[in-house]
């Protein structure tokens, strides 16, 4: 029921010029939406966009996200539009005939309120069902027999990768086979952490999954196009969280087989370069061996990344700098040069020994 009002307010109401504030607000949102859709079309400049999915998990999330965004944009247009309309249509007009009267007081309406309860519930149901489908198709996907198993262990601030059935241990650069949709060979990642919480996020391949100490999580990826997929740790894990980068190489079958064969070999111990041989001696007489493993030698430490084939990686320091002799030298001299707060201490080697160790490490292909 409405109430009539015909009494002048006891004093002058406060009246303000009508500003187009709500239009400007709307405009800001529309601009944002245009930009968002524009970005979607430039994966080249955005190697980690979630809108350029590669592989089944990322694709199913992408499909769901388009549905969700369509619904959300629709709601915004309707509700936002009504709001905008109300603000313009019902603004006070101080110079009109009935300016001094209060408008009709409306206290509620059962029908209207019921409808705007029921409609949102229906929307929620639709969204919920669509979402549940993707949750189960991703998390409860049947695992094919030819899937690759990789164990991922998160460390402060690097990634350890173990291929248990292949006898490979490596760090920071993950190689997986390209998956043919007709004969899927997904890679199943079994993940935990050696210290604090981390999170494995390569947006183009899949959603992220956390690495938590004393807990094992699993996820899977199946890139269908060869290439390098980037990502980084997505759960704050300490000082160098920002530089715990991810590099996933989806290799063609031939490249993948070659990589496996290379990785399965123990470390090179016969060097053409005499500096490398001398560097091996320096390495093995210092504390390096207590943190790092070089397969087939006395270095069997597990606190730091496996260095057996470090020379064949594209990057060091968990993806944050290119793998060049100069960078290796600088890192070994003082890790804080690239990653202040990294857990590897400066090794206090003299310049000569540094050169030798650098030669050694670069030749560990």
């Amino acid at each position: 029921m409405t109430g009539g009002t015909n009494v002048t307010p006891p004093h002058q109401s406060i009246v303000v010029n009508n500003q187009l504030l709500s239009r400007r607000d709307m405009l800001a949102c529309q601009v944002w939406l245009c930009i968002a859709s524009a970005i979607q079309s430039v994966p080249g400049h955005a190697p980690t966009t979630i809108f350029a999915p590669q592989g089944t998990p990322a694709q199913s999330i992408f499909g769901l996200s388009m549905l969700v965004m369509a619904i959300v944009v629709g709601i915004f247009v309707v509700v936002g539009g009504l709001l905008l309309y109300a603000l313009l249509r019902f603004r006070s007009r101080p110079f009109s005939a009935d300016a001094a009267q209060e408008p009709p007081q409306v206290y509620g309406s059962n029908q209207i309120e019921l409808s705007w309860t029921v409609v949102p519930v229906l929307i929620v149901v639709i969204l919920f069902l669509a979402t549940t489908r993707v949750i189960f198709s991703t998390e409860k996907a049947p695992k094919p027999a030819q899937a690759l198993d990789v164990t991922v262990i998160g460390h402060q601030f690097w990634w350890e990768y173990r291929y248990p059935k292949l006898g490979i241990v490596t760090a920071n650069e993950l190689h997986v086979p390209v998956s043919d949709p007709n004969h899927p060979t997904p890679t199943y990642l079994t993940m935990s952490s050696a210290d604090t919480d981390h999170s494995f996020w390569v947006p183009r391949l899949a959603g992220k999954m956390d690495l938590i100490p004393n807990k094992v999580n699993t996820m899977w990826i199946d890139p269908q196009a060869a290439g390098l997929y980037l990502g980084q740790c997505a759960q704050y894990c300490g000082t160098q969280h920002a530089k715990m980068l991810l590099r996933v190489y989806a290799d063609s079958p031939a490249a993948y087989a070659a990589w496996i064969a290379q990785q399965q070999k123990p470390a090179i111990t016969a060097f053409a370069d005499p500096n490398a041989a001398a560097g091996q001696a320096v390495f093995q007489h210092n504390a390096c061996i207590s943190c790092h493993t070089v397969a087939g030698t006395v270095a069997t430490g597990r606190f730091g990344p496996d260095l057996t084939h470090v020379g064949s990686r594209d990057t060091i320091a968990s993806g944050s700098v290119p793998n060049t002799a100069a960078n290796i030298r600088a890192f070994v001299d003082n890790p804080a040069h690239f990653k202040p707060g990294a857990l590897m201490p400066p090794m206090h080697l003299n310049d000569h020994d540094l050169d030798l160790v650098t030669a050694y490490l670069t030749s560990l292909k």
Partner: protein, 561 residues
């Protein structure tokens, strides 16, 4: 006195001023008056708003370009920890409790809060908590020289907070400061609930209370069940760090996920505790400047209570990537989506309140309109995040940062600004300058949208949060630059606002008791109210007692549903 020599007179004058200053100081330090305590809470929060904002500015400068070296990684990690902890516990909670403290007794026709001394104690212990947290910048160096301000993030995930990963005392400052603030929050909430239930003036049945009072009642009830889990978890953390307990010690079989559960059982209701007061302000301000009663009062009450209950069951949507399992993810997706229904009802009710009204665009109303659009958007990005697979991509990225700042700044802070423009006249007797207010509004709006609209994009492009820098080849740089530029506008607008507060106190137009032609009891006393609030305890017969007075031929009591 006229026969005294000039010199003696001057000394006497000086002595008087001297005594006056200390009298005033003593009065404020020992007051148990809810109005003064409310103002102290608000002033305290404003100070920390500037400090927390400065921390944000430093972070945005660091992130404006990739691989920047403006601050060290360690300093950046402290900045985001302190920024988050400050804004939630030492800006959000105090300012909302400040307004609640001031307004609730006035709106129900009471003389003060139920427990005035507890009220004062709650303020001072919270204030001490804030000072303790900031002392950590100076005094936190502990073992291994690894101290200083806490750097574990505002949610302090285990086991990063264990002694082995966070030696020194920085984490302890975080724990203790928040523990104290929590005690203060529980005290104030206790006061608000007791006052609301036990001290309403005659005739003010529960279904005649202003909606602000309802919202504060629900908020306070939520504080009891939300803050306590955090208190419990922090006690456990201290036991781990100092008595060798193993609550979150993964080496001894403890669970890092358990901390997350406890924290988010607090953390999610906490954000509703922060937002419900913003709704409370909207429920008072929007009707007055639409010149209409709020649409659907019973539904608003029911929706609020619904939000209160449902918010206790959605917490693990902060943990979708933790490995809860398909059924866990499904349940929390459902609960989170369902909470959109009562929240949407509120937005629709505000829309219906505006509909058919005579909308006056005072500065308070402008901020309220900003709130309406921005809260709508924030809720919609929340729906995006509620779909758990979508959250597997967007979670822990800058998209989430954009979403929650949209709520905290775009909705809550905007309504706090509105509340200032609306109730400052009541508290001080003067109007805030509308001209400066408009500058404040537009500058802040531009800055807000520059920063937080564009912040969604790096998230979509794969930028995680809590990173002190980022790679140049990811395509994030231009967006971060735009985001950082908005911070400057917001800073300028905030400083202008503070100036407005101070200037208007001395030069603002005298307000009188009821400058907005409003309808609730606080407008029936002088501005500012006398210490005792009401000379005679009022009696009410409807939800809008002053409307009934002003329109005796058509009182609200005839129509209320």
């Amino acid at each position: 006195m006229a026969t005294q020599t000039p010199i003696a007179m001057t000394t006497d004058q000086a002595a008087k001023t001297h005594r006056l200053f200390f009298d005033v100081l003593h009065d404020w330090l020992t007051t148990v008056d809810h109005k003064k305590i409310g103002i102290m809470y608000i002033a305290y929060a404003l100070f920390f708003l500037v400090v927390g904002g400065f921390e944000a500015l430093l972070m945005r400068i660091q992130l404006a370009i990739p691989n920047n070296t403006f601050v060290s990684p360690q300093a950046f990690n402290r900045l985001f920890t302190m920024h988050g902890s400050t804004m939630v516990f030492f800006v959000g909670m105090p300012i909302l409790f400040g307004f609640g403290n001031y307004l609730v007794p006035l709106m129900i026709g009471a003389r003060d809060m139920a427990f005035p001394r507890l009220n004062a104690f709650s303020f001072w212990i919270s204030a001490f908590g804030g000072i303790l947290l900031y002392f950590s910048y100076l005094g936190g160096d502990g073992l291994y020289g690894a101290g200083s301000a806490p750097d574990v993030g505002w949610f302090a995930y285990a086991p990063l907070t264990a002694r082995v990963f966070s030696p020194g005392h920085s984490t302890d400052y975080w724990t203790l400061a928040l523990l104290l603030s929590g005690i203060g929050s529980i005290g104030t909430a206790l006061n608000i609930v007791t006052t609301t239930i036990c001290m309403r003036c005659p005739g003010m049945k529960l279904n005649r209370m202003p909606l602000l009072v309802w919202l504060y009642l629900v908020t306070s009830a939520m504080v009891f069940v939300a803050v306590s889990p955090l208190t419990a978890a922090q006690i456990m953390l201290m036991l781990d760090r100092y008595l060798g307990a193993h609550f979150f010690d993964t080496q001894a079989g403890g669970s890092a996920v358990l901390w997350m559960h406890f924290f988010w059982i607090f953390g999610h209701p906490e954000v509703y505790i922060l937002v419900l007061p913003a709704f409370a302000f909207a429920n008072e301000i929007i009707p007055v400047f639409s010149r209409k009663a709020v649409f659907g009062y019973p539904a608003m009450v029911a929706a609020t209570i619904g939000i209160g209950f449902i918010s206790l069951s959605v917490w693990a949507h902060h943990m979708f990537t933790v490995g809860l399992g398909a059924y866990g993810n499904t349940f929390f997706t459902f609960a989170t989506m369902i909470i959109a229904v009562p929240t949407g009802i509120k937005i629709f009710n505000w829309l219906a309140t505006l509909w058919g009204g005579k909308i006056q665009f005072t500065v308070a109303m402008m901020f309220s309109v900003g709130f309406l659009f921005q809260f709508l958007i924030a809720g919609l990005t929340g729906i995006m995040l509620s779909a758990s697979p979508f959250d597997w991509q967007l979670g822990n990225s800058y998209f989430v940062v954009a979403h929650f700042h949209y709520v905290l700044v775009g909705a809550i802070l905007f309504m706090i600004f509105a509340a200032f423009y609306y109730w400052y006249p009541k508290m001080s007797g003067r109007m805030l300058s509308e001209k400066m207010g408009k500058w404040h509004f537009w500058l802040f709006l531009i800055g807000f949208h520059l920063t937080f609209d564009f912040m969604h994009i790096p998230g979509i492009l794969g930028m995680p949060r809590r990173v002190y820098t980022y790679e140049a080849d990811r395509g994030w740089a231009i967006w971060n630059m735009i985001v950082s530029s908005g911070a400057i506008f917001q800073a300028a607008a905030s400083l202008l606002f503070v100036y407005n507060l101070i200037w208007s106190y001395f030069k603002g137009k005298v307000a009188g008791p009821d400058p907005w032609d409003a309808w609730t009891l606080e407008w029936s006393t002088t501005s500012p109210p006398p210490a005792y609030n009401f000379a005679v305890t009022p009696t009410v017969e409807s939800r809008r007692p002053l409307w009934d007075l002003k329109h005796p031929e058509d009182p609200d009591s005839n129509y209320e549903m």
